[in-house]
């Protein structure tokens, strides 16, 4: 628990900003440069969007750890999800391209019996 920040937000679009704020604040405190912080803000948004998919109920659970200039963010879906009928504007492919381009590592694993997606980003050598 020590050193880990956990955040649970309902699958309701207008609160995802909290995930971005948490990522930015942690990266800021860990002395990431502005460009790295902006990358992380976007990546965390895309991580949430990819985990949420078309679910319109339930909650997104995130955990953030920072250790020696490396931030890891894990994201999983809690609770049963009713599916949205979206379909149009499905940006999954875009999310993946963004994540691939901006993180050092990403993947999926099982944590507490739940599928979790995670990303990892190192602080750049020169603060940009």
């Amino acid at each position: 628990m020590n050193g880990t920040v956990e955040l649970t937000i309902p699958v309701r679009s207008d609160l995802l900003i909290l995930a971005r704020l948490t990522a930015a604040a942690m990266a800021g405190r860990a002395e990431f440069g502005i460009e790295d912080i902006e990358d992380l803000r976007l990546v965390v948004e895309e991580l949430c969007l990819s985990v949420i998919g078309r679910n319109k109920t339930g909650a997104v659970h995130l955990h953030f750890t920072e250790d020696a200039g490396v931030i890891t963010v894990g994201c999983s879906l809690w609770g049963e999800g009713d599916l949205d009928e979206r379909g149009e504007d499905d940006p999954d492919d875009l999310s993946l391209r963004i994540i691939e381009a901006l993180v050092d590592e990403y993947g999926e694993d099982m944590a507490d019996g739940r599928r979790q997606a995670w990303i990892r980003k190192h602080r750049s050598k020169v603060a940009s």
Binding site: S13, L16, I17, R20, L49, E88, D89, P91, I98
Partner: protein, 113 residues
């Protein structure tokens, strides 16, 4: 933390210029979509979306822009972007969308070009 988000519409030389300010994310992208869908329904043929004042753009917002771009193409119209922020340009580049959208450095160039 800047929660202000604004969309303004104006006409410049017969072109519809949509100026977006703030963060376009999953919460605000629907407003942009509604604006662009309405313009398409009204048969607007030339649209310029000015993203100069946009500080954050996510995949939902990009999806809305791509959707509007396609609708314009199908209807024989155009949709151009104005991007001045390096940050926004970077996101368009990593998603390979700079090869989809005509991107300009100012509204004048987009309207004229």
């Amino acid at each position: 933390m800047d929660l202000t988000f604004e969309i303004a519409e104006k006409r410049v030389d017969g072109v519809s210029v949509v100026t977006v300010t703030g963060e376009i994310d999953v919460a605000t992208a629907p407003d942009l979509k509604e604006c662009l869908v309405t313009q398409a329904a009204e048969g607007v043929s030339a649209i310029v979306v000015d993203l100069s004042g946009v500080s954050f753009i996510d995949s939902t917002a990009l999806g809305v822009l791509v959707g509007a771009f396609r609708r314009q193409e199908e209807a024989g119209g155009t949709l151009k972007l104005v991007v001045t922020e390096p940050r926004i340009l970077k996101v368009l580049e990593i998603t390979a969308l700079t090869s989809v959208f005509p991107v300009f450095a100012s509204v004048e160039e987009a309207v004229g070009g």
